[in-house]
Structures are given as C-alpha cells and as structure tokens.
C-alpha cells in the first residue's frame, strides 16, 4: 500500500530538513579543522592574533554546532519517521556506520565541551590545542560515516536478495561500496573549502566596513589560502566522482550532462536550457570533455540516457544543479588564487572594493554550491531510494499528517535560522576585535603588576 500524498510530503520534508541541516553540518565539519590551523599558526609564530582568531571562531562555532546538533537529531529520527519501510530494509545492512556516527559525534561533543571551557586554564597553549584534535576528528568522522550511508543508497552491496529476504549480509562490504571513496572525500574537502571561504567572507566584510585591522588581513589571507587548497582538492575529487558515476551510475551522469545517445568521444554540455523534447539551446559544447570526465580518455564510449527505461531516469533539471555547483567551484578557485597571487606579487586590485565584495559573496556562494551539490546527489538518484532495489515511493511512510509536520518543521527552521543569525551578529558586534585586543592587553599588564 502506497500513500501518494505521504510520499510527496515526506520527500518535501526530508528535502527541507536536509537543506537546512547541511548548512550547519558543513560548517560543523569544516570549522574545527580551521580553528586548529589558526591556533597552530598562532602558537608556532607566537602571534596573538591567530590565537584570538581561533578563540573568536570557537565562540560562534558553538552557536552553529547547537543548531547542527538539533537538526541532525531531527533528520536522524525523520529517517525512521518518514521512511520506515526503507529503514527496515536498509537498517539490516547499513546500520553499522549509522551506529558508529553516534560514537564519533559523542566523542566530538565531549571534547568540544572541554575545549570550550578550558581557554587559558592550561599554562601551555599547546595542551589546550590538543583537546581540539578529538573535536576535529570526531566532526570529520561523523561526516565520513553518514556519507557512507548515503553512498550505500547510491551503490548498495554487501547482501543478496533471495525470495524477497536479505541474506548473506556483510556489513563491512556494504560500508566500503564503490560510491564511498569519492563521495566521502568530496564531502570532506568541500566542507573544509566552504568553511574557509565563509570565514574569508566575514573578514572581507569587516575590511570593507571600515576596519583596517591587521587581524582581519591575516584572517583573510589565511582563509583564502585554505579555501584555495581545498577548492582544488574538491575539483580533483569531483573529477573522480565523474569516473565513479560513469561506471556505476551512468544514468545519473547522463542526466546531469544531458547526454542522450551513447557515443564515443562525447562532448560535455555546459549551461544551456532544455525543453521537453531533448532540444537544448544556448549551451556550450566542449568536444571530448565528457569522455575525459567519464573515463579519462577522449575516445571512450559514454552511455546515454536513451539506454534506460523511461521510468528509471532522474529528472533532467539536475543539469542546472550540476552547473551551479561546478561554476561556483571554479569561480571560487579563481578568486582565492587571484588573492593569494595578489598578496605575493603586491597587486593593488585585490584591495579594491569590488574585489573585496567578490570575496564577501564567496561565503554565501559556496553554501549555494553545497546545496546544489546535495540536490544533484539526491535528485540524481531518483526514482530510487536504494538504487536498483527500492523505489522512493516504496520506502515512504503510509502515515497521514506528514503535511502538518512539514509546516511545523518549516516554522522551526525559520526560528532557528533567524535566531542563530541574530545571536551571532549580536555576539560579534558586542565585542569587536579592537576592544577584545585592548582588553587582553590590559589583562596582561594587570598580571605584571
């Protein structure tokens, strides 16, 4: 029995929850590593500015973690509430990484609590920084385990189906599925990239708004460097993801690239619009590029969408999502490269208003790229919830009232989104960096006396 409206509303509610959660989750995964790098640079160069940077980021991080934790709890339970049939089936094979994720999260939570409340409690800054290592590991491992579950939905393995029953289950084989390496790496690298660029965007904004403090210049330069490194990594891994898709989920790649006919030496379509009849307008074609993306060989044969039954291909609008993700990624790589080269070469334009504004937009743009990437990943798997095994509508709940719950959760996310933004901006406004540095200097002088 399938409850059509429950299926629809379950999809909407899951999409809303994930879209909201992923903003805080991405920041939650990336920021601990960045705080660690800041504190490390501060200790190594004996530069108080970087240590203060680490400390100030930590304060804001607590707010985003809180929202990330509660929305993570929500999606964790919604998996069972909205997709009970899916969880009943998949739980038998892929429960292990879900379970391990709670441990990673537990580990992170404990050490974050300790780290947060022990600033200056140790005489040696290094000891305090050590407490951050479990936080960063825990945060990244949470992402690894959860992404493994998502990878399993794309490339399920580690079991056999005999007469409708799952047999011969191998939890580790299920975890190390073919989608896992590229997906996990892409999620981690893009989380580090986005976190660095969001912080760069804040520093650029402060510089634009009149502050000329070295603190922000150091922050902007460091974040741009990190942003560049991780955006290059994200792009390289993205290329590997293309090769994974070509081999294991060709319909997803073909739909994302509007590639209809199987052919050798396939060209890559960028931008463009499509009507209902496979007519593509205003596009840019790069000869052989799709074959290179798919197999690293310009002559390789790429399977087209027409090879698949009509009811087993994902919606074609994922091409737009793919474009948004890729173009923002390339744009941010360029911006961060220009900035770094500009600082080294002493180019003047990187200090001009327009370039600062580009850096400011980099933060929100990166978050849009993350959203587009996840929509691409999820919509691109349709019509399956477990590719080749269970269709999305078979996994959904049959319960009524999903629509009402959607309204309640939308209100919740609105409250949390506005609340966290207000609290964060108030927090930093009440204690600007100039004042904090002055306070600390006064404190230190007090110690001497």
């Amino acid at each position: 029995m399938i409850n059509e409206s429950a299926v629809f509303w379950s999809r909407v509610l899951t999409e809303v929850t994930l879209s909201f959660h992923i903003i805080y989750a991405t920041i939650g995964v990336g920021i601990p590593l960045i705080i660690m790098i800041c504190q490390w640079v501060g200790i190594k160069n004996n530069d108080e500015h970087y240590i203060l940077l680490a400390r100030r980021i930590t304060r804001g991080f607590v707010i985003t973690v809180a929202v990330g934790v509660v929305t993570g709890t929500a999606i964790g339970l919604q998996l069972s509430l909205l997709w009970p049939n899916f969880m009943q089936l998949a739980g038998q094979v892929i429960a292990l990484p879900l379970f391990m994720e709670t441990f990673a999260f537990f580990f992170e939570a404990i050490f974050l609590g300790i780290y947060l409340y022990t600033w200056d409690r140790f005489d040696n800054q290094k000891k305090h920084m050590l407490l951050l290592i479990p936080v960063a590991i825990g945060a990244s491992m949470s992402a690894v385990f959860i992404t493994i579950v998502n990878a399993f939905m794309n490339a399920p393995q580690g079991f056999e189906i005999v007469n409708g029953e799952l047999v011969n289950i191998q939890p580790l084989i299920a975890m190390f599925n073919p989608a896992m390496p590229t997906k996990v790496a892409h999620v981690l690298a893009s989380a580090y990239m986005t976190s660095a660029l969001v912080l760069a965007s804040i520093a650029a904004y402060r510089l634009l708004k009149g502050s000329n403090h070295t603190y922000y210049k150091k922050s902007l330069f460091l974040m741009m460097k990190l942003g560049f490194i991780f955006s290059v990594a994200t792009a390289v891994i993205g290329d590997f993801s293309g090769k994974y898709l070509a081999e294991y989920q060709p319909e997803k790649l073909a739909a994302a690239e509007w590639h209809f006919e199987t052919e050798e030496g396939a060209s890559l379509i960028l931008l463009g619009f499509i009507d209902g009849e496979e007519n593509i307008k205003y596009d840019i074609r790069i000869p052989y590029a799709l074959s290179i993306l798919a197999f690293g060989n310009p002559k390789a044969e790429v399977i087209g969408l027409n090879e698949f039954p009509e009811d087993e291909i994902p919606p074609l609008y994922i091409h737009y999502l793919f474009n948004i993700m890729v173009f923002i990624g390339m744009f941010m790589t360029l911006i961060s490269l220009l900035y770094i080269a500009g600082v080294w070469r002493g180019w003047a334009f990187i200090k001009q208003q327009w370039f600062r504004w580009l850096s400011v937009f980099g933060g929100p743009l990166s978050i849009i790229a993350i959203e587009a990437g996840w929509w691409l990943a999820e919509v691109g798997r349709q019509p399956w919830i477990l590719r080749g095994i269970m269709r999305t509508e078979q996994g959904a709940t049959t319960s009524d009232h999903v629509d009402t719950m959607l309204i309640l959760f939308c209100i919740l996310y609105l409250i949390l989104g506005i609340g966290s933004a207000v609290v964060l901006s108030r927090m930093y406004r009440a204690n600007p960096i100039e004042r904090e540095i002055a306070d600390r200097l006064a404190d230190m002088e007090g110690d001497v006396r």
């Binding site: 707010i63 934790v69 509660v70 739980g91 038998q92 379970f99 609590g113």
Partner: protein
C-alpha cells in the same frame, strides 16, 4: 545470552542514562525559569548554569544513541514505531530543537534573556511528556494493523487515563531527580541558600512521584492484564526500588549523606526502570513486535556489538575526563575559578 537480549540490554542501559541526565537537565531548566518567575533567580541561576554549561550537548547524544541503536539492532522497530510515532516524536523533536539551540543562544549569545529562559524551562517539561507517550503506546491497545500497516488511534490514546498518568509521572520524575541532584550539587558548591531551596523542591515532589507510580501499576490491571501479571511477577525489584526511594527521602529530610542520596536515587530508578523493562520482555510493541522477531541478522548484530565495545573504550576515558574537569573539580563546582570560557 542471546545477542538480541544483549542488544536490548545495552540500549536499555543507554536509555536509562538518558532518563537520568536528561531529567537533571530538564528539571534544572524548569527550576531556573521558575526561580526567575518567583524572583529567586539570584539563588539558583549561578549553580544551574555552572552544572549545565559543559554537559548539555552530551545529554542529547544519549537519546540519539538509543534510537540509532534500536533501529540498528531491531530494524523492524523502524517500520512499526516509525509509522505510528510520526506526530508525537515530531513534536518532541521540535521541542528538543528549540530547547537545545535556545540554550546555546542564551548562554553564549545573550545571557539572562527572560523569554529564552522560559521557553527553555517549559519545553523541558513538555519533552518528557511527549516522549513518555512512546511507553504508553508500547503497552498495546492503541495500535491496529490495517492493510498490513500499523495505525495509531489518536483519540483512544488521548482519552486514556493511562496516557495522562504516564505523562504526569514523567514530569514528576524529572522534577524529583533534578531536585535531588541539585540539592547535592548545591551542597557541594557550599551554596546554602540554593541547597535549602532545592531540598524543599525535592521533598515536595517525592509524594506525587510515588503516588503516580503506584497508580499506573494499578491501572495496568485494567488496561492489559497480561502485562500487569508480568509486572506483579517481578514485584521484589519494584519493592527494592520503593525502599531505596524511602531511604533517599529520609536522608534528604535529615540533611545527611547527600552524595549517598544521589547514589540511592539512581539505584531506585535503575531498579524501577529495569523491573519495568524485564516485565515488558519480550515485547518491543505489544503484541505485534518482539525482540526475537524484530532482530537484525547475526552478522550485523556481531558488527554492532564489536563497534559498541570499541566505542566504549573511546568514550569512557573521555567521559571520565569531562567529569573530572567539571563535575568533580572542587574549584570549578564552587565557582572559585576564573572564567575559562572561550
């Protein structure tokens, strides 16, 4: 021991852990809000803040652990409970989300915001109320299987006196556990005013707690005779729990051995919680789902148990460090320390 019994035992222990730490947390939030209302904020706020601050996130993990674990060990529970609990658990989730994030907003963003504190205090009572409904539903009688799908009868649940008794019990238990713990914590912190006030609250909530617990057992006879007989069969455990309860109340009223009274309190709930759990065996959802039918495959079960043991090796030392630095650190508890918050 069967793997399924081991699995449910581990989960039950974690759920018990959640009941205790979350009760302390929820009750503290309520007392904090109540003290703002009655103008006694200066007495309590400090002590409650100091306890809650470093541990709030850890509390939530116990709950996450329980529900991820139960779906892992008993995937069929995702089907049954997932389908019928959409509304009550969604409501609990929304309350948990508001409470957790607004706690962070209040304590790291704008301290002393009254609106946040009230929202925080009230939601602390509504969350156990909404979560306790799961226990009521598990007793059977509220779920029917229609076309192979479980369907919850909301109206029957709403008018059942059992539902409301369990809701009230959960609230009374939250306030009692929290008050006893904070009595001890205030005493350790050498905060006499807070100590006297919390002690008063602890003694106030003791009679309703035990009255409601007995009332629920009596009602079970009419609600589900099978389950009632199982509960009666295990009466010595409930009896020990009752004796521990009396000892705790006696110690607190005499202001003696407060550390011990917290220990007895935990034991009291441990006995009651496990007596209830054992009497519930083998049902996860009466009468449709037992731990034997709903159990996952052997391979997954073994993998989960190994992951659990490895996880504990990581967690127990970390938890110990957390407790040593904050809960058991004299300097920290008495507030004689500089503020080391980031």
């Amino acid at each position: 021991m069967n793997l399924e019994v081991l699995g449910i035992l581990v989960l039950w222990i974690f759920l018990f852990g959640y009941v205790i730490v979350a009760s302390i947390d929820f009750g503290a939030g309520f007392f904090n809000a109540y003290s703002l209302l009655t103008g006694k904020a200066h007495i309590l706020s400090d002590i409650i803040q100091r306890y809650l601050s470093p541990v709030w996130e850890v509390t939530n993990v116990f709950l996450v652990f329980f529900f991820v674990g139960i779906v892992g060990f008993f995937p069929q529970s995702a089907f049954y409970y997932g389908t019928i609990l959409l509304v009550p658990v969604s409501i609990a989730l929304i309350l948990l989300a508001i409470r957790g994030s607004y706690y962070a907003f209040e304590s790291y963003g704008s301290r002393g915001h009254k609106g946040y504190a009230f929202a925080y205090g009230i939601s602390g009572l509504l969350i156990p109320a909404s979560l306790s409904i799961v226990f009521t539903i598990s007793e059977g009688g509220f779920v029917e299987i229609i076309n192979g799908q479980p369907v919850l009868d909301y109206w029957k649940l709403f008018i059942s006196p059992l539902t409301w008794s369990i809701v009230l019990l959960s609230i009374a238990a939250v306030l009692y556990i929290s008050a006893v713990f904070l009595t001890w914590y205030a005493w350790k912190a050498r905060d006499l005013q807070a100590f006297e006030l919390m002690r008063k609250y602890a003694l106030f909530w003791a009679p309703p707690l035990i009255f409601l617990a007995l009332f629920i057992i009596i009602q079970m006879e009419h609600h589900n005779l099978d389950r009632f007989n199982n509960m009666v069969a295990i009466w010595p455990m409930f009896g020990i729990s009752g004796i521990l309860f009396l000892l705790t109340v006696w110690l607190i009223s005499k202001k003696r051995s407060l550390g011990l009274s917290v220990g007895l309190l935990i034991l009291q709930f441990l006995f009651a919680f496990f007596a209830y759990g054992i009497s519930h065996y083998p049902y996860l959802l009466y009468p449709y789902l037992t731990i034997h039918e709903g159990f996952t495959n052997q391979e997954m079960a073994i993998a989960l148990v190994i992951a659990f043991i490895l996880g504990l090796c990581l967690l127990i030392p970390s938890l110990y460090l957390l407790l040593r630095l904050f809960l058991f650190d004299k300097q920290y508890v008495t507030g004689n320390q500089k503020d080391y918050h980031a």
